[in-house]
């Protein structure tokens, strides 16, 4: 019979691609481009803050080196940008070594390369619950088993991590690494407490795991004292980098458009990552690397980050204030000391994915929580971004969102009240019969 075959290469696709579905919420994100919507959904830094003048100056400064900027470069990155990376890590208190730095195309590529290098199908990894959706996606292509470790206000709970590790070990699973975003975690906004950082490192040592420390937001601190990175703690304790694979990025302290990140790890791991990257893209863009180098060497990059932090702090405050003012009492949220996100928790019966179309219809968007779990938990959560939208709009967005949530809570109570009455009536309606 004449079947119309819409994708005639279906039978040729790899098994792992079949497992990679775009979430329904991903499709919904298309509606975010519509006019008038207040999007608290993306994870975008505000690149408008950079300014045309600064951009022009960079272009001017690097124009003398145009031939190199347009050329292929070394797989692990140019020497000059590695110096910049060492400076940036130093500014956050991590004594990095230039030879341990490896440049990647965004930290996102590093996530893929790390998974490529470490994971066989069926291996186990530990992530925070919830965890960065982009990391889960990158890992999922290598078909690992992902265990989420619960968090509280102080980040991943080491005792829970130990329990999960023991359980996985008993099941005979080969646990390869523990993945954490220690500062202002995406999506939860919480920061891993200092003593827990040590405990996580001890656990990794005990179970002989690698720790993937993904730190895109560390420099975006608006209040409180900076905490040492796991990489720094390890170097302090062991004298050198060992099992911590540190991932950094220029996306939040410079701009995501340059797609530049890095791995800081011991040479053995970097060697494997180097092989993986050669197959992926040969090298990251020289143009981007030289652009960043020019800016970080000639301009006051710390002042720029401080300016960004000023903007983000104001917006975070606007978000926290309006959450407190408008949200129904059964809704709770985190209080990030930095970063880009607030994580809100709704009553357990409320499905943030199912509620999203309603919110979008009222012109506000967020990211539903379930995308941040490998197994589809977290439905009653939402991630709210405060970096991209102006304070006034954040306020309006939260007000609308609160209204949408309140409506859902009220509907639930209307339904429950009604069906309780219905249950009382049931014997009678059954005896009188029902229409056909």
């Amino acid at each position: 019979m004449p079947l119309v075959d819409l994708d005639r290469f279906d039978f040729l696709y790899a098994t792992r691609v079949k497992g990679m579905k775009t979430a329904a919420t991903r499709d919904l994100m298309a509606t975010l481009s519509r006019p008038g919507i207040i999007s608290l959904a993306g994870g975008f830094p505000d690149t408008r803050a950079f300014g045309e003048e600064a951009f022009r100056e960079i272009a001017h400064n690097m124009s003398g080196d145009y031939a190199q900027a347009l050329q292929y470069g070394p797989t692990g990155g140019l020497e000059s940008i590695k110096d910049v990376i060492v400076e940036v890590m130093g500014a956050e208190g991590t004594p990095a070594n230039q030879e341990n730095v490896f440049v990647t195309t965004g930290a996102q590529q590093a996530l893929d390369l790390v998974a490529k290098v470490f994971l066989d199908e069926g291996d186990a990894i530990l992530c925070e619950g919830p965890s960065y959706a982009g990391a889960l996606n990158a890992f999922a292509a290598y078909r690992p088993r992902i265990a989420h470790v619960p968090m509280d206000r102080a980040g991943m709970i080491p005792a829970a991590a130990r329990e999960t590790l023991n359980k996985a070990k008993k099941q005979g699973l080969h646990i390869k690494f523990l993945y954490t975003v220690p500062n202002f975690q995406n999506p939860a906004g919480v920061t891993l407490a200092k003593d827990r950082r040590r405990e996580i490192l001890d656990l990794a040592k005990e179970f002989d795991l690698v720790v993937i420390e993904d730190n895109p937001y560390g420099m975006l601190r608006f209040e409180g004292e900076p905490l040492p990175t796991l990489a720094a703690l390890e170097m302090e304790e062991e004298g050198d980098v060992d099992r911590v694979v540190y991932l950094g990025t220029f996306s939040k302290i410079f701009a995501p458009g340059v797609r530049l990140g890095w791995v800081h790890a011991q040479p053995g791991i970097l060697h494997k990552i180097n092989v993986g990257k050669q197959g992926a893209d040969l090298c990251s863009s020289n143009l981007s690397q030289m652009m960043i180098t020019s800016f970080f060497q000639n301009a006051d990059w710390k002042a720029y980050v401080a300016r960004l932090n000023g903007i983000y702090k104001e917006r975070r405050d606007a978000m926290l204030d309006s959450l407190a003012e408008f949200m129904p009492k059964d809704v709770h949220w985190t209080h990030p000391e930095g970063g880009l996100f607030v994580w809100a928790t709704l009553p357990t019966y409320l499905d943030a994915t199912a509620m999203l179309p309603r919110a979008i219809a009222k012109n506000v968007a967020y990211v539903p929580g379930e995308g941040f779990y490998a197994g589809g938990e977290g439905k009653n959560h939402m991630r709210l971004n405060f970096s991209f939208v102006e304070s006034e709009k954040i306020r309006r967005g939260i007000e609308i969102l609160s209204e949408v949530i309140r409506e859902r809570i009220e509907l639930r109570s209307d339904l429950e009240r009604g069906s309780k009455r219905g249950a009382r009536q049931k014997p009678r309606s059954a005896s009188t019969g029902t229409e056909g």
Binding site: M1, P2, L6, L28, P357, L415, G418
Partner: protein, 318 residues
């Protein structure tokens, strides 16, 4: 050659699909030699339409706001001819509650249903009647928002224990929902076209066979997730019956220009589930596929729909 506006985008869940439909239609119209101006739905749309003063508007919007009579009523106010159905027919088809009532009154088979409104839940404790409604229809049944076209918020319910959550979810998408008796059988779509000055006719029968689970939003717009059998594998008599029923439904609902009638062939009898007045025109949409199978190119399809819109001496749309 005519100066035309193509409306695409809009505010519904199907915004992205609308862009795909709009792009395909725009390119087809350009290949046909027309002057095409694509427009989104925003604050300045009316002004832009007044300024452009097109000879016709090709509406490529799906879902609430674009397919429910909102745009159609405005275009009539602006005295601009437009493709497809009129305002009343549009809202009737968009709202499955209205559509099913009109079909039932015209003696056309549609699965039994019960309607619940958010307001009645709030003001009259209508949830007390949920179980009774479920029992009277029998399980399994389907709970769906009345005015949502893409399978969002639609759930099959196997027993009363699942009813509450399904109702709660469906209300997330619309303030009016339906409980509808499950119709068992093959899913057959009947694309219909009504060329200028002619009677409406079926473009053939398309059988929809999702590879896994239900024909939801994702399956609908992902190449390879669904198989279509064109023509549908049904007997000649069933085919005649399907076409006749679909055309009767098209007329009963007062559609114009084109539409897609979605049915379930249950025990040899077509049950009408839904009528889409602006079905998708994407690469994976049934209407253009059926047209192609019937020997009508995409350009011919688009031109036929446009001709009907430009045929302004015809009787007013409903």
């Amino acid at each position: 050659m005519a100066r035309l506006a193509v409306l695409r985008g809009g505010h519904s869940m199907e915004r992205d699909v609308s862009f795909v439909t709009g792009r395909r239609v725009q390119h087809a119209l350009e290949r046909l030699g027309h002057e095409v101006h694509p427009l989104d739905i925003e604050d300045s749309t009316t002004e832009a339409l007044m300024e452009l003063s097109p000879e016709a508007v090709f509406i490529c919007l799906h879902g609430p706001g674009g397919e429910d009579g909102t745009v159609q009523a405005l275009l009539e106010t602006l005295n601009l001819p437009y493709t497809g159905s009129g305002p009343l027919s549009s809202i009737r088809c968009m709202d499955k509650d209205y559509a099913k009532r009109a079909l039932r009154a015209a003696g056309i088979n549609t699965p039994p249903f019960r309607t619940f409104l958010r307001r009645a839940m709030n003001e009259m404790g209508a949830a007390a009647a949920l179980d009774t409604a479920g029992e009277s229809l029998g399980y399994p049944l389907v709970v769906k928002p009345a005015r949502e076209g893409s399978g969002f918020g639609l759930n099959r319910v196997e027993g009363s224990g699942e009813l509450f959550d399904a109702v709660y979810e469906a209300f997330g998408y619309d303030a009016k929902i339906l409980l509808e008796k499950w119709a068992e059988g093959s899913e057959v779509s009947v694309p219909i076209i009504e060329p200028a000055g002619e009677n409406a006719k079926a473009l053939g029968l398309v059988e929809i066979r999702p590879r896994e689970g239900a024909y939801n939003f994702e399956a609908k717009y992902t190449p390879g997730a669904t198989d279509f059998a064109i023509p549908a594998e049904v007997s000649d008599e069933e085919a005649r019956n399907l076409e006749e029923t679909a055309l009767t439904a098209y007329r009963a609902l007062g559609c114009s220009g084109f539409a897609r009638v979605d049915t379930i062939l249950e025990d040899g009898l077509p049950q009408i589930l839904d009528v889409k007045t602006i079905p998708g025109f994407t690469e994976t949409s049934t209407l253009p596929l059926a047209a192609e199978a019937a020997g009508m190119s995409f350009e011919e399809l688009v031109e036929t729909i446009l001709e009907a819109a430009l045929h302004t001496e015809a009787a007013a749309k409903l």
